[in-house]
Symmetry: C2
Subunit: 245 residues, 2 copies
């Protein structure tokens, strides 16, 4: 068996997310079917983590094992020639036999895009969360500072998630806004809980619009109560930017 590592860019708008599901078309399904057409065998492709319905990836990493004798470059070009226009393999290489894109992931970087302007955006609207009321960047940065480090992030974890430990370490949480009103929130962690970035962003937006105070954050975190934090930000503004190994 050979082992492969691939890097993917995708537009999540049309999909039910990374993972195969009964009631929707997933990126995993489309990719596995494309791969089967090229290498002539069924493969199970493992990503560094699931992305939710509507979430995009700039550099998702995935791995799979196959018996094919095809050169990796042939697989790379072949699979791209049959993938739809909203998924592309950016890189493909042969990986060490024990490489596993999920288990070996050491960390991930997500970017969330907010279009903060009074006017409804039109061009590029597919890739932003539009927020009309002016967000206070400094307040959001103060709130963000409380999230950096190791915490129990239960208050930002999707309800119904049955994971054992919800302690995670956020090593980076930057917020920048350019002159056009585009705000980018970058979050890095060794591991994320389900909906964690979107729930953090929704909460930071509540701070930016004055509904919450930056100083409320320690209490919200300590409560471990999902209802205390803000709503989840929409999926369309979220991008998986990098997976670290």
């Amino acid at each position: 068996m050979r082992n492969f590592k691939i890097t993917l860019e995708y537009d999540g708008a049309a999909y039910c997310g990374w993972q195969r599901q009964q009631n929707g078309i997933s990126i995993q399904q489309i990719l596995e079917e494309a791969m089967e057409r090229i290498i002539g065998e069924r493969v199970s492709i493992i990503a560094s983590g699931r992305t939710d319905a509507g979430v995009h990836a700039l550099n998702q990493v995935a791995s799979f094992k196959a018996q094919t004798a095809l050169a990796v470059n042939k697989i790379f070009l072949g699979v791209n020639s049959v993938l739809p226009d909203d998924i592309v393999v950016k890189d493909a290489q042969e990986a060490p036999p024990d490489f596993n894109a999920l288990k070996d992931a050491k960390g991930k970087v997500y970017v969330y895009r907010i279009r903060n302007q009074s006017l409804r955006p039109v061009l590029g609207r597919q890739y932003d969360w539009f927020i009309r009321f002016r967000l206070d960047l400094e307040r959001m940065r103060r709130a963000a500072s409380y999230l950096i480090g190791e915490h129990d992030f239960s208050c930002f974890c999707a309800t119904g998630c049955d994971i054992k430990s919800r302690v995670r370490t956020v090593s980076r949480l930057d917020i920048v806004r350019n002159d056009d009103g585009l705000m980018e929130i970058t979050v890095e962690s060794g591991g994320f809980l389900r909906h964690m970035v979107r729930n953090i962003v929704g909460t930071l937006v509540d701070v930016g619009r004055g509904k919450l105070k930056p100083e409320d954050m320690p209490e919200i975190i300590a409560s471990c109560d999902r209802k205390r934090a803000g709503m989840a930000a929409p999926a369309c503004g979220l991008f998986l930017k990098e997976v670290k190994y």
Copy 2:
């Protein structure tokens, strides 16, 4: 009668172009219907010029006359509340009685976006022409230099166009490429012929890929023969950026 000047941003992908047509939905129709819902009267909205099917606008300018007593800001907010998400009015003001967005336009600036990279782009693919083979920027700039100034641009005019004079003056034709492979071609003129920008871009791309030489341009222009120039670039990469009055 009052006279109004409005500035529009739109994503042209879903439309048959600016102008009303029998066999398709135009931006003009959608806008006139939205305006009628808000001000309660039928209006005829005149743009600075037509944009073709699939072409976008960052700042299209249009004008219309109406009897409404509504404050201009009410019209502005009202029409935006009923327009679909791919059209927005960015600005609305009362104009002098004789202002006409078409007749008074002194010049226009178009921007054409090319994504020049080996890999098929995914995120933002709606707004670029993807060209895989490496374009030679310096050759394209040399070719562009021949187009600046007053010329008979017949070779870049859509066939079947029955306009009298095809002499136009291009005052600016810049080409830049950033590190990500995004190439932007900016063209400014007092007036454009039908498909002129897209035909110029298609021809410059032929130069950039080596199919034509920069030094072929004077002869192509002098021929006044549409078949001598390159193919029209796709509509999706073209943006009306500015109308000058």
